[in-house]
Amino acid sequence: MALDRETVQRIAYLARIRVNDDRLDQIAGELDGILGWVEQLSEVDTDGVAPMTSVADVLAPMRADAITDGDCRDKVLANATEPMEGFFTVPKVVE
């Protein structure tokens, strides 16, 4: 299996990372190396083995359905780049 430039571009877009064309080959090579190396897991017999989805063998705890947070708008916005009138802002998304 070899990753082509197109696949790298698709992954980069899914990850929302701009990758300039001159870096595509290098990244393709690196990702290919890593994916080729993890390929060895196919040697392991995992028939009937459940995937490990939780490290601790405990049930997720229940808590009271009560409000425990909030009323801190200014703190939430304190690190935003361009907050405006109590809101986050983003580039215009509708014309």
């Binding site: 790298v8 992954i11 980069a12 877009y13 899914l14 990850a15 929302r16 990372i17 701009r18 990758v19 990244i27 690196e30 990702l31 190396g33 890593i34 994916l35 190396w37 993890v38 060895q40 897991l41 196919s42 040697e43 392991v44 995992t46 083995v49 459940a50 995937p51 490990m52 989805t53 939780s54 490290v55 601790a56 405990v58 997720a60 705890p61 808590r63 801190c72 703190k75 939430v76 304190a78 690190n79 935003a80 780049t81 361009e82 986050f88 802002t89 983003v90 580039p91 998304v93």
Partner: protein, 497 residues
């Protein structure tokens, strides 16, 4: 015996504070001065000497009123820059979080604060804890205070391990009495091994992850980095505990880890896993491992050969699971709510520009690997397969612990390497964590204890692994190893008085 306050341990500083031999203000000032003199090591991203002095003065006032809070009260520590600290920049070693000032305190740092610990500053680290050498930090690499006395790296600047390399340097260069680290695949234990210090990763769930910048949530765990096993036991006691803010934090009481020490290893069954070897591993690491087993045997432990057959698959499993979780966790860095924003013509362009400029190469690589293994058509082949192999790896440990109380292994396959050493591909760097990743995948507690030196005069650690939530036995065995090894951390200039 020296009078320099930076030469103390947490335990001896506590005793000195209790006896009134010195104040926390004096102890803290000595460490802040050492940090200032050792800036060439680049152990800290942010120094907070004024905040530290104020916290130390408050500690002294408590003590004067007979209201000291416990063993950590007045003890100066370094905080890895992965912990969100209220009002103090927290960067995770990344450009994308440069200037980020949390409006809240992580649970672990708050626990330490409430125990009276004095934070000297925020320790350098690999970007988002992704690395094994503290070379990926946006704020420059950290330098290990150790130097090789001979060999190809003689006199060269060496890496302090990673990702908690600022913390390991702070401890070994005596810039702090204790430091927080986080360990996802070895980020506490491997830097401890590289710097001749003690690094302990508790059981997954022992410390709250709330407020720790997330890398791989099913693996991340905070732990103490110190100069002695006793200090690690003391410090973990102040860090650990159930936290309703982290649903994976385990609702269990925290034992008194320190009082569990001093009981020896007579009758303890110590497993030596046959599979913990690596291609090109220096013979002296194998010899030290054998020596470690002999030391424990001499103290009455029983050495048992065990097999963990899936060990060789741990690292490739980790390099699917951890990037997958990272790609999801790091989706939050979008230039909108906090951190860096790089403008673009559209929302998507803004995201892509921000993340391209804000993340370094290794972080981008892992986010892309994670994105790929989670993408439609590959999810089962990579991610689910890795999760199944992870079950196998955890099962190996469960079987082994039916017959033994702890496992003994090397911490890392090499001593500290040179900063200018070139790694031709990312996997060569990943191999640093070959012996630490298995316990991480299984969520088990593990500790690295400095045990010896290479022929070139560089420190080597030995690792102990115990069953989940049996840190008391882990510390007990680690103390026995520490006493037998009699390792002495040198005093490096210019931090000394």
């Amino acid at each position: 015996m020296t009078n320099d306050l930076t030469h103390l341990t947490i335990a001896s500083a506590r005793d000195g504070l209790d006896a009134g031999d010195f104040s926390s203000v004096e102890l803290t000032a000595a460490h802040s001065a050492a940090i200032e003199k050792s800036r060439d090591l680049n152990a800290f991203i942010t120094e907070t000497p004024e905040l530290a002095q104020a916290a130390a003065a408050a500690s002294d006032a408590r003590r004067a009123n007979g209201a000291a809070l416990g063993a950590m009260d007045g003890i100066p520590i370094a905080m890895k820059d992965l912990f969100c600290t209220e009002g103090v920049q927290s960067t995770a070693g990344s450009h994308i979080l440069e200037g980020f000032v949390p409006q809240y305190e992580s649970t672990v740092s708050r626990n330490l604060k409430e125990a009276g610990a004095v934070t000297l500053g925020k320790a350098n680290m690999d970007e988002f804890a992704m690395g094994s050498a503290t070379l990926t930090s946006y704020f420059g690499n950290t330098i290990n205070p150790w130097k090789a006395s001979s060999g190809p790296n003689a006199g060269k600047d060496l890496v302090p391990g990673g990702s908690s390399g600022g913390s390991s340097t702070a401890i070994s260069a005596r810039l702090a009495l204790g430091a927080t680290g986080t360990d996802t695949g070895g980020s506490i234990r491997q830097p401890a091994s590289f710097t001749g210090t003690v690094g302990m990763k508790p059981t997954y769930g022992r410390c709250s992850r709330w407020g720790i910048v997330a890398f791989a949530s099913s693996l991340d765990q905070a732990g103490p980095m110190t100069r002695t096993v006793r200090d690690a036991a003391i410090m973990l006691g102040a860090m650990a505990g159930h936290d309703p803010m982290d649903s994976t934090s385990t609702p269990m009481d925290v034992p008194d880890f320190e009082s569990g020490l001093g009981k020896g290893v007579k009758g303890l069954r110590v497993g030596v896993p046959a599979e913990y070897t690596a291609d090109g591993m220096p013979e002296e690491i194998t010899a030290l491992w054998q020596q470690g087993a002999d030391w424990l045997k001499d103290q009455g432990a029983e050495i048992v050969e065990v097999s963990l057959p899936h060990t060789k698959y741990a690292l490739p499993t980790y390099y699917i699971v951890a990037p997958a979780e990272a790609s999801s966790n790091l989706a939050r860095y979008d230039g909108v709510r906090y951190g860096l924003r790089v403008d673009g013509d559209s929302l998507d362009e803004m995201y892509m520009n921000t993340r391209a400029e804000g993340f370094g190469d290794e972080v981008q690589r892992r986010v892309m690997i994670g994105t790929y293994v989670l993408s439609a058509g590959y999810y089962d082949a990579y991610y689910v397969k890795a999760q199944k192999v992870r079950t196998r790896i955890a099962g190996d440990f469960t079987s082994a612990f039916e017959n033994v109380d702890v496992l003994l292994a090397p911490t890392a396959p090499s001593p500290a390497f040179a900063i200018d050493e070139k790694f031709d591909d990312p996997i060569a760097m990943y191999l640093n964590d070959i012996f630490t990743v298995p316990a991480s995948l299984a969520g088990l507690p593990a500790i690295s204890v400095p045990a010896g030196l290479t022929s070139d005069g560089l420190p080597l650690g030995l690792q102990l692994i115990s069953p989940a939530f049996d840190e008391v036995t882990l510390f007990r065995a680690a103390e026995a190893l520490e006493q037998a090894a009699g390792f002495e951390l040198p005093i490096f200039g210019p931090g000394e008085g």
